[in-house]
Amino acid sequence: MMFNERLVNLLPGRMRNQVAQWFEAAELLVEMRDPKVLAAIGPAGLRGLLLQRGKQGVPTLMPAKHQVHFDWQYPHDHEEMATLYRRAKEGQWNGDSLPWHIDVDPLNPEVPLIPPDFIDGEKLASFGVRLDAAEQVNLRYSLAAWMLSQFLHGEQGALFAAAQVTEAVQFFDGKLYGSTQVMDEGRHVEVFHRYIEEKLNKLYQINDNLYVIIDSLMTDSRWDMKFLGMQIMVEGLALGAFGVIYKQTREPLLKELLRNVIQDEARHVHYGVVALREQFRNHITERERAEREDWAFEVALLMRNRFMAFEVYDEWFAHRLTRAQWRDLVSTSPGMSDFRQVMFRRLIPNLREIGLMSPRVVPHYERAGLMQYYDGRSADQITGAQLLADLH
């Protein structure tokens, strides 16, 4: 790391950030010791981190290789999924019914979108950058728009992944349930996009690391990998982020929007736990299970370490801070640690429940400081309402 930094500092100024970024990407791939995991994530890593396919300004085409599973007998094959399907039908809501008339001023310090502690002003000052009050408000606006933009990009991934999983899953009750999730994700894309376009007027490009996760899921041919990635990991990440913003925002429209979205997401994660528990216990070999276990751990680390708002850095600080300083600033901010805590409080019990926390990987999680969340409740034991109540 130190060696890299020194090397990078020898380069001409304009190249420095780009090369530092590539070193980070290389580090990420080198750290993946398991060759199977590397094979699953590596190509997507190159496309996302090196070629920045998500930022090329044109639509991205990703080849999908899964098999579509038809069943002409229409079996009632999974009671818990059938129950989820009924609940999902009753839980539908209309994005138009949110209070869109509320006027949102992202620069009004009286009604902050996100709390001030997302960036530590004193630490920033210790790096030699002082922001006046107006700039601080503006930076918070950028961070809020960045987060919501990533939510939107994540929801686009979730929409297509939900559609793919609905095609590929072998349970027919799961397919019916999946159709409601496709509708849910479509609605989430609708409301986040509308909020960004009408109220924030600013759409950030997809974060490279989020792109890597989405790309690796969409192009993986195994439905349970898509499912694990989208339903457990990305939805888990989203629930963490939604939860923190929901708890802390003072902006009433955003709060109402997130309240509705969180209730849908709770159903989605619940389905993920039910379907994958069945799959991992009864339908795959131990070797395949272990591979998924390692994959989940790598993605959990990716989400913990890499989701660092570098797009905001590019906009604001590319000429004033190094990437390492920015990472330090973001990863130690109280807002971000709150976010990580909510995320892993949800994620770890779910991984335990679907059987991806065997004694083999526990020491890894222990080292990453994530075992403290092991005894929490998993998504199948918790309703949307409880989830919201937990956040207060």
Partner: protein, 399 residues
């Protein structure tokens, strides 16, 4: 010719190929041109903000800042509490009652920078004009708490879409609308580069020097800022000379300008003419040259000279209205006073919003005003600075 089209098509196909885009991404990254971090999701003209706003609004001065010995900025808020919506580059008309007469003058708006500025406020910058009653008055007497009427926003000196580059050329107080345009483009249009040439007599005359420098340090790559002084101090390292054709050409040569730039020019009339000549010399298309002229009309026709009440007819949207142009009133004032909904904005002959076609009759107009020779030949008049001398038939353009 027949062979050319498929060739172009093939070349285009090449650039659409994924690996070419990938390679370009890497090269751009190394050249310090990373992809823009975000895109604006605001249409260039936000829905609900009319280009011209009918009706005066009552505003209160919440801050007064002395920019230079000859210029002040007033930060204004709407007394109703409603935010003031406008587009960067537009101006507002201030109406001030002095010695029993209401005088109207247009001033460009910029975005208040101070953290304390309330949301929805607007900042107008007023440079003292020799012999100018309103500018003198405001420079000497404007104070926090003052209440005044303003019309607007008006003007079409605004950026449409997201051009690859903006070249802003400002002289004296002409920098005001350009500052608003620059700040907006830098924050809202991440793919747009901005070159800003600011001409003044001496250092002390430069408006918004600190704000410009702050913008430059915030956007060191996307903003190229040049100060040009006609009376520079001895240690001056910036540009020198009046912004005439030769200086402008030299300054433009010094900037590495991309294709597809839009040029925005605002300043004193002689400077604007020179700059236009320099741009045309370089082959810049007229469509890409945007100019903001400020006319300060003088009363060429004393009110007493105009006769008594005159019968008027106005056709608006296919409907016919009749009203009387009273002596001592402009056609616009009479029409509005008699509830005839004629269009207007700046009310001082500067924006053309009240332009109507004079089908019959005769009117005198205060000069100078913003009507072009062509418009005059076609029979257009401005009701806000016009007085009827005979019974008139006026027709509004279909909108």
């Amino acid at each position: 010719m027949a062979g050319v089209a498929p060739w172009i098509e093939r070349a285009r196909g090449f650039f659409r190929v994924q690996w070419v885009r990938d390679a370009r991404m890497i090269l751009d990254g190394l050249a310090g041109r990373p992809p823009p971090p975000f895109t604006s999701r605001r249409p260039a003209v936000p829905p609900g903000i009319p280009r011209t706003l009918v009706g005066a609004r009552s505003v209160r001065v919440v801050a007064v800042a002395r920019e230079t010995p000859d210029a002040i900025s007033l930060t204004l808020v709407d007394r109703s509490g409603e935010g003031i919506a406008w587009l960067p580059g537009q101006f507002f008309t201030v109406a001030i009652r002095l010695r029993g007469e209401v005088l109207r003058r247009a001033y460009s708006a910029s975005i208040p920078m101070a953290a304390a500025s309330p949301a929805g406020s607007v900042r107008l910058t007023i440079k003292r004009v020799a012999g100018g009653m309103v500018s003198q008055y405001l420079n000497d007497h404007a104070a926090v708490g003052d209440v005044m009427d303003v019309f607007g926003p008006s003007g079409s000196f605004v950026v449409e879409g997201a051009p690859a580059g903006l070249v802003l050329l400002g002289g004296g107080s002409g920098v005001t609308p350009l500052l608003a345009i620059a700040r907006d483009a830098l924050t809202r249009l991440p793919g747009t580069r901005v070159a800003f040439v600011v001409g003044n007599r001496s250092i002390g005359d430069i408006l918004f020097m600190e704000e410009l420098a702050a913008l430059e340090s915030r956007y060191p790559v996307r903003l190229a800022l040049r100060f040009v002084l006609s009376d520079p101090p001895s240690e001056w390292t910036g540009g020198t000379g009046m912004l005439d054709s030769a200086t402008t050409a030299r300054e433009l040569d010094g900037l590495s300008l991309d294709e597809g730039c839009e040029y925005f020019v605002c300043g004193p009339a002689p400077m604007m003419e020179s700059v236009r000549a320099a741009l045309q010399e370089r082959g810049v298309h007229d469509k890409s040259i945007h100019e903001e002229r400020f006319c300060a009309p003088v009363h060429s026709v004393p009110m007493a000279d105009v006769g008594g009440d005159i019968a008027m007819t106005a056709v608006l949207g296919g409907r016919e209205y009749t009203f009387v142009n009273h002596a001592h009133e402009t056609v616009l004032d009479s029409a509005l006073g008699q509830r005839v909904p004629v269009p207007y904005s700046c009310t001082m002959g500067g924006c053309g919003a009240c332009r109507m076609k004079l089908r019959e009759g005769a009117m005198t107009l205060e000069e100078p005003n913003c009507l072009s020779a062509e418009e005059r030949a076609q029979g257009y008049v401005l009701t806000c600075i016009g007085r009827a001398t005979q019974a008139c038939l006026l027709e509004a353009e279909a909108s």
